[in-house]
Homo-oligomer: 397 residues x 2
């Protein structure tokens, strides 16, 4: 088996912390079979009861968007959600793969129609994450077609070698003990989260090219890093790589405008480039883009909370992704290159009990990158004083 | 899109007779994506509500058999069966693909362990078929790896061309109107079934090389051909190709011995060669084989009905498969080359209401081929007279 794929599979099972006797639900795309096999082998060797793989096929979605009755595009068979809820009820492990497998799968389709079919995303994932019933991990899967998208200027074979070499570095596989390296990095991220929690800012101000945004925080908005525990205390790393510190904002107090600093790749593969969003009193009142603005507009109109923020995340420049300067067209990687915000649902555990009802609720969660070395982040305390938080990509706390 | 694959996809959707507004459940293996796309396109063009594809990955099964606790190998997550039952409750369409994609996937594994994990088969399929709630069709999907198994003496490219050319013929795609050709063939099969029903034999005697078997029939054992209707009257062709006329025997009255005339390929890909079975009072009391007898023995021991017969099928030599002389290592094709019997469950609609409780019940249904040009089939009437049914592959009724 390919050494990179095997190492990523091992990291995914380590990150999800698969327990003996657990079911492991895997969500993969057609084209990611080898990583599925690596994960299945590693999980069964750790004593998993059953590895249940759902393979998503983007070309079946294409056939649907092209030929099905547009009025039916929101339909999802009930067993998709039931599977997810039962994975939660049984306190299972979950692993999901990102990474592009077929960049042209949805080319030329009407973005408004695409926005109606959010598969492989199912809204029941939100409940399972909020319940903290599953231990899970998402990783990005290498693929030659993805490499051609990321490095279009290189011949295909070279592009794939370049992608593999960057992933090897990004996953810290060049460290003597990659798992220990991740433990160390996550500890540093948690220290930044703790410093932010101690300040208990009332708001953050973000200022940079194309961006002047003030984001209100809830009294108990709680900053976290990528080290979670289930309700039963099973620790897990939900993303590998992870380089972010994040919380949920006050969905009523977001004002100003932002410009994305990286392309946004939606879950179905649609790429939104040159995104610009203006907020008033928490609501995204204007969404523009150079490409595929409609796909995001449709999502932002899908329910009441879809046009409000559910997350704000800060990324320093110690992470290995931002330093590469590569656009991966994969949110899991790109969001860890730069500070970002997300339209839609907030994680319930991002605020204390007393503020939980005020968190944004939605069936969507769409991250987009607004960070860059030029982005300045300032904290505003409850007494109105202003404290530098991040400048030139470095923490100032 | 490949013309053969597109034509098979069209035939599958025609065979299942997919209706506007129906969900279509597809079961495919990794490696059969192109046929999935052909089927999805054809189904959505006919107005399907949703095409739900389950991709089975034999290498995930391999990881399980190799590494999981052997005691857990019978476990199936409940949502596998729930999906099947809900497809039935919603009166959906179903299409399944046979055909080998990875001949070595399960090589070298313990057949007894393999017998414990019957996926992608789930026992709930039996109820859905018996309820006649879904309109369905199974077709075989071409694949280069399959061609190498069927024609090992040919260079790989030539083997695949040969397989494609034989499938083109077997699917009657060389007829001016393949769908009309299937209508005609199914009408001829129904005429043979009607002739058998008019005789209402008490038993059949099968005699040929390695085979001397007497199979009792129930008073209302009902012979059918490959043209079904759902409880709501949606006609469909459950198998394409189909060349057989079949019924369910009396599970208490089967005596003698049989030798298989083609290799038996189990659903998980295990190949049982040189199979010999001896029956006493309906029960398979001895199961021997040159290879992998244990895989079948384990299945035959899986429940009370698993060692009794649920089907007897007669195949004449008008079919196109037998004439080729090719062993396809795929039951859907090979069973239509030759007369066969099946261990395990009987289709409930194979007998009249008054005999339905006497039909064999089991969680398995395993067909194996015992027919050849040398096989003579004799009908025994209730008054004991003997009537030739099939000689040299021709009907004698």
């Amino acid at each position: 088996m390919d050494a990179l794929v095997e190492a990523i599979g091992d990291l995914a099972v380590h990150g999800a912390n698969v327990q003996p006797g657990q079911i492991l639900g895997v969500t993969a795309s057609i084209g990611q079979e080898e990583l599925v096999h690596a994960v299945a082998g590693a999980a069964y060797r750790r004593g998993a009861l059953f590895v249940d793989v759902f393979y998503y096929d983007p070309l079946v979605k294409r056939a649907r968007i092209e030929h099905a009755d547009p009025q039916t595009l929101g339909f999802v068979p009930p067993w998709y959600g039931q599977r997810m809820l039962e994975l939660g009820d049984r306190e299972s492990a979950r692993i999901g793969f990102s990474g592009v497998v077929c960049p042209q799968a949805l080319d030329g389709l009407d973005p408004a129609l695409l926005g109606r079919d959010q598969l492989p995303w199912v809204s029941e994932i939100t409940k399972v994450v909020d319940d903290r019933s599953t231990n899970w991990c998402g990783v990005a899967c290498p693929h030659p077609r993805w490499a051609e998208l990321v490095f279009p200027e290189l011949p295909p074979g070279e592009a794939y070698e370049r992608l593999r070499s960057e992933l090897w570095h990004v996953y810290r596989l060049d460290e003597p003990d990659p798992k220990a390296a991740w433990d160390e990095r996550v500890a540093a991220l948690k220290a930044s989260a703790t410093a932010l929690n101690e300040r208990a800012f009332d708001a953050l101000e973000l200022s940079g090219p194309g961006t002047e945004l003030r984001i209100g925080l809830l009294p108990t908005s709680f900053w976290q890093a990528g080290d979670f525990a289930t309700r039963n205390g099973i620790r897990h790393l939900p993303n590998i790589p992870t380089e972010e510190v994040f919380t949920a904002p006050d969905p009523e107090r977001v004002d100003g405008h932002v410009a994305s600093t990286k392309p946004l790749v939606l879950r179905d593969g649609t790429i939104v480039r040159g995104l610009r969003v203006r907020f008033e009193k928490g609501v995204a009142v204007e969404i523009d883009a150079d490409e595929n603005a409609d796909a995001l507009r449709t999502r932002a109109a899908s329910d009441e909370g879809a046009a409000r923020l559910g997350e704000v995340a800060l990324v320093d420049r110690e992470g290995r992704i931002g330093a590469l300067g590569t656009v991966f067209y994969d949110t899991l990687l790109d969001e860890n290159a730069a500070s970002h915000i997300a339209l839609g649902n907030a994680y319930a555990f991002s605020a204390g009990e007393e503020d939980r009802r005020r968190l944004n609720r939605s069936g969507i969660h769409v991250d987009f990158m607004i960070g860059s070395p030029e982005l300045e982040v300032t904290g505003v305390t409850r007494d109105g004083s202003r404290v530098p938080v991040m400048q030139e990509g470095d923490w100032r706390l």
